[in-house]
């Protein structure tokens, strides 16, 4: 733990060879937020077909995933795997999603943390919670307990739209102590799966801490070890041929098998702009996620900040790792309380002399993730509500809006 505390400043200087080599280390070079790149495809593009067919049918046809590969990997019969996946879905313990590299799609991914004043009446928090739950523009959101009360996120093209439309309606309420914007600069890991901005060649590696999966199988009664192995195998870094069964996808959809394979391979493996993955509904498994929100001293250069993010992302117990930009805070890390040595993680974080402050909170309610509603209690499990602010100026009252937003009012 000591070596981090005394780590010397890097040799990195603008224009130096070290800077150039640092730049090469990152799949996505540093860029602005909401950077629209040529080569992206719409979510209904033919290249997305394999994902779209599977996303729309896995609820009743789990065999859209490659049962030969799964059977070989987890050592269970195909029929048993199908039944297990069906049960896991019906228990609402798993959901199949796709994480897009939002920054290259032209959105900024803006998370924001909300802290309420001490002694805020529970009904005031509940009212805000309902507002966040029903605000379709919030694509990811959680109610929390601890150093802050809510952690939500939006993908938006124009930051003014976020400020005016999503934050303004409530941020000046007397019970709100602060709202801190945390725009994402690098997405390193989501739901145990390494993402586009992870260091080295770790893209799409699936990570769990030693013994975590076995422990998870013990602390709850919905998923057993073989179930978890199936999910682990699905999320594993394998070519798309192992992920989907393209024959079944073609059988379900009538679309061309090869075209679907070529399309999804290009997006996931070559362009690296989407990562399909299975997300565990940790709340259904009676797990709580601990969030560590880290603030570095402001004189820490960004190259070092990136290094720290990379170092922390090497800790497999963190199921989610993201780096912020232009914010009071710099890094967020998640780990499950029930299957992780949280004090050890905290001690590790505290060993960094560059860290000025760590805020901690546990998630107690989830609203949405990846634009997908997770509030089963309201009857909206996996209802995907995709809204964004494309072509909209929400600073102007009465301006044109997308239909879903209008319908929701």
């Amino acid at each position: 733990m000591k070596e981090e505390q005394s780590k010397p400043a890097p040799e990195y200087l603008l224009g130096s060879p070290e800077q150039q080599s640092w730049m090469k280390k990152y799949f996505f070079s540093p860029r602005g937020l909401g950077f629209l790149e040529p080569g992206i495809v719409g979510l209904d593009d033919a290249k997305m077909s394999a994902y779209n067919v599977a996303k729309s049918s896995y609820q009743i046809r789990p065999d859209v995933f490659n049962m030969n590969y799964l059977s070989k990997t987890v050592g269970l019969g195909k029929e048993e795997i199908i039944q297990r996946m069906q049960r896991m879905y019906e228990q609402r313990t798993i959901v199949f999603v796709m994480n897009p590299a939002v920054s290259v799609y032209g959105w900024g991914l803006y998370y924001w943390m909300v802290k309420l004043n001490e002694n805020t009446p529970p009904e005031a928090k509940a009212e805000l919670s309902e507002w966040f739950q029903n605000k379709d523009d919030i694509c990811t959101g959680y109610e929390c307990q601890g150093d802050f009360d809510f952690y939500n996120g939006n993908h938006m093209r124009v930051i003014d739209n976020l400020l005016y439309d999503v934050l303004e309606p409530w941020k000046n309420r007397p019970e709100v102590k602060y709202v801190h914007l945390c725009p994402i600069r690098r997405d390193l890991r989501e739901s145990h799966v390494n993402q586009f901005d992870c260091p080295g060649d770790g893209y799409r590696e699936v990570l769990w801490g030693p013994g975590q999966i076995e422990k998870l199988a013990q602390v709850q009664d919905k998923l057993d070890l073989p179930d978890l192995k199936i999910i682990q195998a699905l999320n594993a870094k394998r070519p798309m041929e192992d992920f989907f069964d393209f024959k079944v996808l073609a059988e379900v959809s009538g679309l061309d098998e090869k075209a679907m394979l070529d399309g999804i391979k290009e997006l996931v493996e070559v362009k690296r702009i989407i990562v399909p993955l299975f997300h565990l509904n940790f709340m259904k498994l009676n797990l709580t996620n601990r969030m560590f929100v880290i603030r570095l001293f402001q004189n820490i250069p960004c190259c070092r900040k990136a290094e720290i993010s990379d170092e922390l992302s090497a800790i497999k117990e963190f199921n989610t790792v993201k780096e912020f930009s232009d914010s009071f805070y710099d890094i967020i890390l998640w780990a499950y309380n029930e299957i992780t040595d949280i004090p050890a993680l905290r001690a590790k974080l505290n060993s960094y002399s560059e860290i000025e402050e760590i805020k901690e909170a546990d998630m107690t309610r989830m609203y949405r993730r990846w634009v997908c509603r997770l509030d089963d209690q309201n009857g909206y499990w996996e209802e995907c509500v995709f809204t964004d602010d494309f072509l909209q100026d929400r600073t102007q009252p009465g301006g044109p809006e997308c239909t879903i937003r209008k319908g929701a009012k």
């Binding site: 609820q59 959809s253 679309l255 909206y380 499990w381 879903i404 209008k406 319908g407 929701a408």
Partner: protein, 475 residues
Amino acid sequence: MKIDAPRKYVIDNLKHFLNPSSIAVVGASRYPAKVGYKVIQGLKDWGYRGEIYPVNPRADKVHGLTAYKTITDIPGPVDLVFVAVPAHLVKMTLEHAVAKKAKIVVIATSAFKEIGRGDLQDRLTQYCRDNKLPLFGPNLVGMGSPYLNFNCGFIPYLPIKGPVAMISQSGANLLAALGNSTTMHFGMSFFVGLGNKADVDFSELIEYGNTDPHTKSLAIYIEGLDSPTAFVKACTSVVPNKPIVVIKVGGSEIGVKAAFAHTASENEGTSDAFYDQLFEQCGVIRATTFQEFLDISLALGLQPELKGDCVAMITNGGGSGLLSCDHFERLGQPMQELSSISPDLGLRIRTYMPMFGSPLNPVDISGTASPVHYKGALRQAMRDPNVDMVYCSICPTAVTDVPGVVDVAIEMYEAYKPLGKPFVMECQGGAECLEAIIRLRNHGIPAYATPEQAVNAIVALRKYSKIKEKFSKKK
């Protein structure tokens, strides 16, 4: 896909299309702004009384109704399957519909032939044909009937009850007609959006319209005819009983491409002249503008055919009379002077006009005409055995009692309806004329806001009479 003639199993199953006892809505959504939600909302709001089964594997309940994972999980029988899922799920849905022995499937989903997936569309169509499951769509907006309180699709209006069956490839133009129905009282018997019409074709709905007791005329919006032989067969058998009006679009150079991109309609190698000839061959009346399409189908639905060329026009405005007689002539059906229609009619009508009025034809009873004058002139014209029809126009002046004239027109129409002569009205002016048009239409009188519209309608009534005569003889 092409058919050579209307298919019996399709026509037999069409009774489930507008009057199903149960509907599975595949892709039923819990979110109010999504199509899959609107379909169920529309069914409920407009008074559908059959069973509704939402199908959505992610939901337990939709609209307060139990949701099913697939069609095959539904406990009861399913007459109609309405599909509002993405294109990539349609194949599986059709397989489930066949397994469930559904009677009809309606696919609202887009993204088939119109975006280059013709092969997929054809394969799905063939699958339905192999299993004798009539398929509507894909890429359609919905269908319904005001007589059955049935509005199935994402359609914000239910038209008022009336005589016109509207069959449209275009959802947008169908919606325009439906909107017109609610505001202008264009009455419909049923309406159908056909979209890409991969399987069920115009011809089968034309046959269905022939058997529907509420349908008196058929209005058909065409972007492309895949099965002209079947179309001709169906029209030929129907026109002796009921008039058919078509509007055929996509004939311009860029329109050919636009029609393909819209509803995958193929017009390459055809010309407007080809369609003129085809429509002539099968006895349908072709409209050139959408307004004319609506106007003449309404007149043909409400009124009997015009059996002769002797049209008497009663107006209080010389201007509307002039616009009318010029337009009649342009359309090849010139008006005749009243004296040549019936030598004494002019004299008799003179009693109901001031000395500066004109009994020529148009009969100008002048701007000072009161309901009493209208009543007398209309009665004389209607009663005259040499007059084949009466065309009445109101041009409000400061002294015109428009509601009073409308009362008189309705009274005279009702009184002389047994004579079987058509009666058409034109009311040009402000809000009082709009109200007059709506009241007249509510009483079964085709009424229009301009002389040209009225004349188009009258000429169509005459055309239909000739068509009927010709095709009845053939039959």
